[in-house]
Symmetry: C2
C-alpha cells in the first residue's frame, strides 16, 4: 500500500529527497506537515492548505477520540471525508497529549489512564485502542502509542519509557489497522545516546512502514538534540521515512533535513500566526508592532501566499490591532506556506546537488559550519 | 460618474430592478451589501466576498477614522487598495456609531462631540469632517452625516433630529468629496409618517446621487416600519437608488424590495455566523445544537457556497463545539451568500415579471398577503 523511494542523497550531508506513497497520494520528502488538531488546521480550509503546498495534514487522535469521537468520524466516511481533505493524513497516537496532562495521567503496562479534559471521565488509552481509533479515523499514516517522558525526568524513568515504548510498538504492530494504512513506530531515548541507539536498533527490526523520532525539542538544548537525533537515525533502516515529531522552527528544519529527516510536523506556524507573529527569512516579525502601520509592502514580496500577494504589512497590522479574525487567518496561511516552501526548497536543492549552498544561503552560515550533522 | 437606471418594475408591487454605476463598477439592484467595519468583512478575504456574489462592501467611517485613520488609508491608496477590494465600496458617515455611544456624545448644530472608544480623546464629527474622511477613504458611495435618534425618543427630539439631518445634508453636499464619489443623503423621521413625508420631500429636492432611509429597524414594530418606509420612498425621487440602512433579516429584505428598496446592508450574516447561527429558507439553525452532530448533509444542499459544497452539518457542529475559528468563517460565508442570493433571486424575478410568485414562494404566503407594500 505504502512505499518509500529515496531519489537523491546529498553528498555533503545526510540529507535525502524521496517520495512516500500513501493511499491518498504521494508525499514528496522532506516535507513539512501542518497540524489540524480538531480536524481543521486553525482557521484554514482544505483549499487554503492546498494553496500552501502542504501535502500531508496531521490530525490529533487524542482530541478527535474525545470529540466528536472515532465512531462518528468513521460513520462520516473517515477523517478525510469529515474534514474535506483528500490528500495524505497522518494521525498521532494520542500519547503525547495524554502524557502532557500528567497530573491526571497514570501510565502502566496496559496503557495510559487519564481524565478527559472535556468531561472529566476516566479513559484508558492502550496501544491497541490507539491503533483502533486511528483505523476508524482512516488516516494514511498511523503512529504507534509511545511514552514520551519529560526532558527533566530521572534516568530510570527515561529508561523505562524507552523500553515500554518498544513493547508497545510490538503490540501496535499486532493490533488492528485500516487497509492501506501505514504504521510508524516511535523511537524514544531522550538525550541519552546509548538509549537512543538501543531503542532505534530494536525498533528498526520491527516491520514498521516508517519511524517517528520522538522526545526531542521538549526543552533540551540544541547541542543535545542533534546528537540524539543522529543516534536515532544511525540505527533506523535507511529505506523507511524518518519523521522528527513536533519540530517546526525554520533553522531546526534545515538541521533536521541535513541529518536525514524526511517528515516534520509542528503547530508553530498556526500558533504564531494567531498571535500575529509571521516567519520570514530574516526571522520573526510581530505584526502588532506599531512600526508596521504605514508599510505598504507585504510580509515578503517574494512570497506567493495569499497574504503576501494581496495585503500590506500596514493592513495586516491594522487587522491585528482591530482584533479582526482575518489577520490570524492570513498570518497562519503565510507561516504554513513559509515552512512548506523552505522544506520544498531544501528538497529541490538536494535533487540538484546544491544542498550545501542552500544551507549556506538559508542560514547565512558556511556550509561546513551549518552542516554540523555531517559525519 | 455615477448613474442609476431602472430596468424593470414589478406590476404587483413597487419592487424594481436596476443598475447603479459606480467608479468601481456596477451594482445590480436590489443588492445586499455585507459590512466590513474595520476594512474587513469578519474573517473573510475579498476573494471570499466575491465568491458570495456580493457586489458592494460597506466600511464604517467611525471605526476607520479612529483606527488606522483616514490619512493612513489615503496614503495606502484609499480603502480599496488598503483592504484589497476592487469592487464598489460604500462608507457610512460615522453618525450611527457616534450616536449609539450616547453617554459620551453631545450633538449640537456643528456636529457630534464624542469620546473615542479607543483612547478616550474627545473628537468632533461634523458633516464636513464626515465627508472629508470619506473622501480620503475614497469610497464609491459616501453617506451624509445624519442624526439617528433612538426609537423611544420624545417627539420634539425626533423632530429636531429630522430637521437637523436636513440642514446637515445641505452642508454635506457643499463639502469636499472625492472625484467620482457618489453622495447619498439620509431621510429620517422615525415612525412619524408626517415627518417621514416632510424629510423625504425636502431631501429629494437636494442633488444627491441616492438616498439612504435611516432610523428604521431600531426597535419599532414591523407594522410601524413599513408605513414609515413607504412614506420615505413615496417622497423620494424615483430615478435615484433607495438604500434601507441596517436591515438584513431575510423577510425584511423581501418586504423592503416589495416597497421599492434598491440597497440593503447589515452585519447580521457575519454576526450570526460568528455565534454559529446559519440562515436557511426554513429559518435559522444553531450549529452548536447536538442534533447536528451526525448529520452528513450540508446546511443547504441547494446552496453553492464554500461551506455547503464541501462540509457537512456534523463537521460544522464539531468546529463550533471545538472552538475552531474555521466554523465562524464558514458560517459567515454561508450567511452572506444566503442573503446575497435571496436578493439576487428577487431581482431575477422582477426582471422576468415573476416577483409576486417569488414572494409567495420565498415567504410561504400568498402574494397578495405578502405584498403588503402594494399601494
Amino acid at each position: 500500500m505504502t512505499s518509500f523511494a529515496v531519489l537523491s542523497e546529498s553528498t555533503g550531508s545526510r540529507a535525502r529527497a524521496g517520495v512516500f506513497q500513501t493511499a491518498h497520494g504521494p508525499i514528496e520528502t522532506p516535507a513539512f506537515m501542518p497540524v489540524g488538531t480538531n480536524a481543521a488546521v486553525r482557521g484554514l480550509t482544505p483549499a487554503d492548505i492546498q494553496s500552501t503546498g502542504a501535502q500531508c495534514v496531521l490530525g490529533n487522535t487524542y482530541h478527535l477520540w474525545l470529540q466528536p469521537g472515532a465512531e462518528l468520524i468513521e460513520q462520516a466516511g473517515g477523517l478525510h471525508a469529515f474534514m474535506g481533505w483528500n490528500g495524505p493524513l497522518l494521525t498521532d497516537s494520542g500519547g503525547f497529549q495524554v502524557l502532557s496532562l500528567r497530573r491526571f495521567c497514570v501510565v502502566d503496562e496496559r496503557g495510559a489512564t487519564f481524565r478527559s479534559h472535556l468531561d472529566g471521565n476516566e479513559r484508558l488509552l492502550t496501544p491497541e485502542t490507539a491503533m483502533e481509533v486511528q483505523a476508524r479515523l482512516g488516516s494514511d499514516i498511523a503512529m504507534a502509542l509511545d511514552v514520551c517522558p519529560p526532558y527533566s525526568c530521572a534516568a530510570s524513568e527515561l529508561f523505562e519509557a524507552s523500553e515500554r515504548t518498544l513493547r508497545w510498538a510490538e503490540r501496535s504492530l499486532e493490533a488492528t489497522h485500516a487497509p492501506g494504512q501505514a504504521v510508524f513506530g516511535i523511537a524514544q531515548g531522550g538525550v541519552d545516546l546509548g538509549l537512543r541507539t538501543e531503542a532505534a536498533a530494536a525498533l528498526g527490526k520491527m516491520a514498521f512502514d516508517g519511524y517517528g523520532i520522538g522526545g526531542l525539542s521538549v526543552g533540551e538544548k540544541r547541542e543535545q538534540t542533534w546528537p540524539a537525533l543522529g543516534a536515532s537515525i544511525d540505527n533506523l533502516p535507511t529505506d523507511r521515512p524518518r519523521y522528527l515529531m513536533g519540530v517546526g522552527d525554520p533553522s531546526d528544519l534545515i538541521e533536521g533535513i541535513a541529518r536525514g529527516v524526511d517528515l516534520f510536523d509542528c503547530v508553530l506556524p498556526t500558533r504564531l500566526g494567531r498571535t500575529g507573529t509571521v516567519l520570514t527569512a530574516q526571522g520573526q516579525l510581530d505584526l502588532r508592532h506599531a512600526r508596521f502601520d504605514q508599510i505598504q509592502q507585504p510580509i515578503d514580496s517574494a512570497c506567493d501566499c495569499a497574504a503576501c500577494t494581496r495585503f500590506s504589512l500596514g493592513y495586516l497590522h491594522h487587522l491585528f490591532r482591530s482584533g479582526e479574525e482575518l489577520g490570524m487567518r492570513l498570518a497562519s496561511l503565510h507561516n504554513v506556506r513559509f515552512l512548506v516552501r523552505l522544506v520544498a526548497d531544501a528538497r529541490r536543492a538536494i535533487l540538484t546537488g546544491d544542498f550545501e549552498s542552500f544551507v549556506a544561503y538559508a542560514t547565512g552560515r558556511s556550509a561546513q559550519k551549518a552542516l554540523v550533522g555531517q559525519a
